[in-house]
């Protein structure tokens, strides 16, 4: 892996989550981006990690309560689905 910049690959890895979540200062982001630009391995880990999160979000957020489960829920809570 590349060690030309101030941060090494382990530093990048340690900060990768905060970087993806936008929780780092601009100066640290710039150092990370400079390293990643010259380091094929960190580029791949960062891009596949971002894609992993995207895939799980797409799959996870599509899950909804099935109609029959919803009907049983309202019945057990003694609620009418129209709010009566």
């Amino acid at each position: 892996m590349n060690h030309a910049h101030h941060l090494n690959c382990k530093d990048i890895l340690a900060n990768m989550n905060d970087y993806i979540d936008g929780e780092l200062e601009q100066s640290v982001c710039e150092e990370i981006e400079a390293h990643v630009m010259d380091c094929p391995n960190c580029t791949i880990v960062l891009s596949t990690l971002k894609k992993t999160i995207h895939i799980y979000q797409v799959d996870g957020q599509e899950t909804q309560v099935p109609d029959d489960v919803r009907q049983r829920l309202f019945k057990n809570l003694n609620l009418d689905q129209t709010g009566k």
């Binding site: 890895l13 989550n17 929780e23 596949t48 895939i55 996870g60 809570l77 609620l79 129209t82 709010g83």
Partner: protein
């Protein structure tokens, strides 16, 4: 953003006065999220339904204890996670703590597989076979890592909110999220790597 809008739309005073319209709005707005927690934490639709039912029964019976210092959603998520943990404990007959084993060992997090599969088309990344694989991979996360991953990455809670729901520190949330994400990335890399066309390797 939508969280704030939904939270403000619920009339807390009406809930405290057991107003049925307000309860219906509460259930309408939060049932999908609570169901997802049960499903991802326990893995079966039957268990997810049990978590859903118990969460709203407890919420409705204890709404007067909700002081409004946290978001209503945070309070509901906490009930749902606790219900999920209780069911898991019953199944496994063991104690589960969310606040252990969070020492940071960077070697745990080192990537083992470096293959770029981002070039695969979106339809291949989220088809039905992939989705099944994804669900199995989530089931293989430790319960503590799974809970953090679910709240942060699927439900979109902040680090602070996730720490509140699970009653753990923000640094524990960050360590657990990193472990979960890296484990899932490794898993997906193993799954997608054989599907990459040879000319793109």
């Amino acid at each position: 953003m939508s969280e704030t809008i939904l939270y403000e739309a619920i009339d807390l005073e009406a809930l405290r006065h057991k107003d049925k319209h307000a309860f219906v709005r509460l259930v309408d707005q939060y049932s999908d999220r609570i169901y997802r927690v049960g499903l991802k934490m326990l893995g079966t639709e039957q268990d997810a339904e049990d978590v859903l039912q118990e969460t709203f029964i407890k919420a409705l019976n204890n709404i007067e204890k909700f002081e409004g210092r946290s978001k209503l959603s945070t309070w509901l998520y906490r009930i749902a996670v606790n219900e999920s943990l209780m069911l898991i404990r019953k199944r496994k007959d063991t104690h589960i703590s969310l606040d252990t084993d969070v020492e940071t060992d960077q070697n745990d997090l080192l990537p083992r597989q470096i293959t770029d599969w981002c070039c695969l088309p979106e339809k291949e990344l989220v088809n039905s076979e992939t989705r099944q694989h994804i669900r199995t991979a989530i089931d293989e996360l430790s319960i503590a890592n799974r809970a953090v991953f679910l709240l942060r990455d699927v439900e979109g809670l902040s680090t602070k909110e996730t720490a509140e729901v699970l009653d753990i520190s923000k640094s524990a949330v960050k360590v657990r999220l990193m472990r979960a994400r890296m484990q899932l990335r490794e898993d997906l890399t193993g799954f997608f790597a054989p599907r990459i066309p040879k000319e793109q390797l």
